[in-house]
């Protein structure tokens, strides 16, 4: 089985190639070749297709792609190649279940299948969205920890320390990462859910030194948390990322490689980006030593994952991975619209439905393209989790029908979405509930969902 020393050897001894040649000629060329060879076609009329042969063809194309292009190390400018046998072994030895968390909040993430009746793993929160202050960070994480469906939390990212904007790979980032860990535990302690794991460890630590600087147990991180390491698109890695991998392996942590292939980017359209998305799963297990995977495909223009192309991409990815492997895959979705808008709730409903019915777990979510500070609340992940639980077990055909009732209502606004309100405009941190205006939006949305045959759990706040 390929391990970190093998990855390093390959990175040092692999075929030399310029980065431009790798991504524009080798990778992009091979993706186009596989799409053609396997005759993979996107159908806008069926955002959630029920076509096992399509899913299996995408998997085969992705497998071939990994064998053809491997990964690329930007420090050594060499291709990290894998044999067919190495890829098969990596898939065979990857875990099909993992424990996360402590005490009462310790839970088992298991592999899911298409149409699986078991609820998805709900990794809830901000998906690394920017927050302006320690106060906002605590407000948000307390809100996430109070969601009954929360299995794990994805925190926001701090942007300031000591009144100064964080600078990458600087003491400010190291201090920010340490503060990220401390504040996360503090927020969970405040609402009595001490054992919940953080699984985007650590959103504030983009650099390797910032992550390493926060790993000491005194900052509160645990072996039972999830350690997220972001891949460079497409299929690229550098020593800083491999440093993170090595540090996390050293403490026995479970690495989740996150990767966000852009539809319209290096892999081309929806078909190529789907093949790339599935291929990244395999590359992640090998290169990033990942035991769980965190895809977050986005549309290049909308920077969200709720348009027809992305729903198709998410669904086919989920089906391809869950039909052909036992990998633990967690889809992160982004909306274009912001809090306190029906569009935001409809967008996340569509994306979560595509993921959950196709065999994936969910990380929810990046709100309003995750661009603006404090433009997210605990409501959107709460609703996403309720949807995730409600649609578990739904057939692909029914899921397709459901999203076809939602998408026409917002797709024309994706390019210029309503950004809604900011955290404190529509969330009361003292009462720990949404504003009256947002409550009305939620009630109306839930009435609509009931009308569509998907009643969602009632919130305690009525």
């Amino acid at each position: 089985m390929v391990q970190i020393l093998d990855v390093m050897r390959k990175a040092l001894e692999g075929k030399p190639m310029s980065e431009t040649d790798y991504q524009l000629r080798l990778f992009a060329g091979k993706v186009a070749e596989k799409v053609k060879e396997y005759d993979i076609k996107f159908d806008p009329a069926t955002p959630i297709p029920d076509d096992p042969s399509l899913a299996d063809d995408v998997f085969k194309a992705a497998f071939d792609l990994v064998v053809d292009v491997g990964a690329y190390c930007t420090n050594t400018n060499r291709v990290i190649s894998y044999t067919e046998k190495e890829v098969r072994n990596a898939l065979q030895f990857a875990p099909s279940e993992l424990w996360f968390g402590e005490g009462m909040d310790r839970k088992l993430m298991r592999t899911r299948g298409v149409g699986d009746k078991s609820p998805p793993w709900c990794l809830l929160g901000a998906g690394g969205g920017a927050c302006s202050s320690d106060r906002s960070f605590l407000t948000l994480v307390e809100g996430y920890a109070e969601i009954p469906e929360t299995d794990a939390i994805t925190t926001p990212a701090l942007t300031r320390v000591g009144g100064m904007r964080i600078r990458p790979a600087s003491p400010l980032e190291v201090l920010g990462a340490q503060r990220n860990a401390v504040l996360f535990r503090e927020a969970c302690n405040r609402v009595g859910r001490q054992g919940i794991p953080v699984m985007n460890t650590l959103s504030t630590a983009e650099s390797d030194i910032a992550l390493a600087g926060a790993l000491h147990p005194k900052y509160g991180l645990r072996q039972s948390d999830g350690y997220m390491i972001c891949c460079m698109d497409p299929m690229k890695v550098d020593f800083a990322r491999l440093n993170k991998v090595t540090a996390v392996l050293g403490i026995g942590g479970a690495i989740g490689m996150c990767f966000g292939p852009m539809m319209g980017g290096y892999a081309g359209g929806p078909e190529g980006t789907t093949v790339s998305n599935v291929a990244h799963h395999m590359m992640g297990v090998l290169t990033y030593q990942s035991s769980w995977l965190l895809p977050f495909p986005l549309h290049l223009r909308y920077v969200s994952s709720s348009c027809r192309e992305l729903l198709w991409l998410i669904s086919v990815t989920g089906q391809a991975v869950s039909r052909n492997t036992h990998l633990l895959t967690v889809n992160l979705n982004y909306t274009s619209a912001g809090p306190c808008t029906p569009m935001c709730l409809n967008e996340t409903t569509a994306s979560v439905t595509a993921a959950v019915t196709s065999g994936m777990h969910i990380e929810s979510l990046g709100v309003a393209s995750n661009k603006q500070e404090d433009r997210t609340t605990p409501v959107e992940p709460r609703v996403s989790a309720q949807v995730g639980h409600a649609v578990a077990g739904m057939s692909l055909a029914d899921a397709n029908e459901l999203v076809l009732r939602l998408v026409p209502g917002y797709e024309k606004r994706l390019a210029d979405p309503p950004l809604g309100k900011t955290l404190y405009d529509c969330w009361d941190p003292e009462a720990r509930r949404p504003s009256k205006e947002y409550m009305r939006v939620i009630r109306e949305y839930k009435r609509k969902m009931s009308g569509l045959g998907v009643p969602l759990r009632e919130d305690d706040w009525g």
Binding site: A157, R167, G264, Y266, G268, G269, G272, L300, K371
Partner: protein
């Protein structure tokens, strides 16, 4: 071969994203004594503009856009030195890169390619570019516009460092500074004193055009 046919060859090389064909078309045009400025303006530019428009409509994707840009660069390397001094070949020079500590490149690459398609001379510094390098390169290349991309909330602070460095080195009034990338906003651009924020690649090109002659 007629000048029209040679211009068509140049166009085709860009539309086929073929650097080798662009080089041989440029050589053929030079050997046939085609006016190099005409070769650029009537051969290369309309073709790269066409690719840019197709990309905007998502009829082609990033690889095609960047390969067309590469082909254009290959031909320009041969043609530009032959354009007599004083004859204008580009709107302006733009220095562009992803800020220090950030290795994300897709957004920057799209803007870079569309700027080239829009008639700018683009100096692409790549990713993880030191603050001082943006300013030094702008000075040495006579660029009126500097564009800095950042994708992470932890890296956009480096955009502020570039504005501050421009100010501290007495260069601020001479050059426009534009920002873009995932977590950036109009408010952020205003907060740090940038001249503009590119919401997307098209608006970035619009801003560069606005500041082509300086601030």
């Amino acid at each position: 071969m007629s000048a029209d046919k040679l211009l068509k060859q140049l166009q085709d090389s860009i539309l086929k994203y073929d650097s080798a064909a662009a080089v041989s078309a440029a050589k053929a045009a030079i050997n046939a004594k085609v006016d190099p400025l005409q070769a650029i303006e009537k051969g290369l530019v309309p073709a790269i503009e066409q690719v840019g428009e197709k990309f905007e409509r998502m009829e082609v994707y990033l690889p095609e856009l960047m390969l067309a840009g590469d082909a254009m660069k290959s031909a320009l390397d041969l043609l530009l030195p032959l354009v007599p001094k004083g004859q204008k070949t580009s709107k302006a020079t733009v220095v562009i890169g992803t800020v220090q500590g950030d290795v994300h490149e897709i957004g920057k690459n799209i803007v870079s390619s569309l700027l080239m398609a829009g008639g700018f001379d683009v100096v692409d510094l790549g990713v993880n570019v030191k603050t001082s390098v943006f300013v030094d390169e702008a000075k040495s290349k006579g660029a009126k516009v500097i564009g800095a991309s950042a994708l992470m909330s932890s890296t956009i602070g480096s955009q502020k460092d570039i504005v501050d460095y421009l100010r501290a080195s007495g260069e601020r009034r001479k050059r426009a500074f534009l920002v873009g990338g995932g977590p950036t906003t109009q408010d952020w651009a205003k907060e740090i004193g940038a001249d503009g924020w590119g919401k997307d690649a098209v608006s970035a090109v619009r801003l560069a055009t606005k500041f082509a002659k300086g601030r």
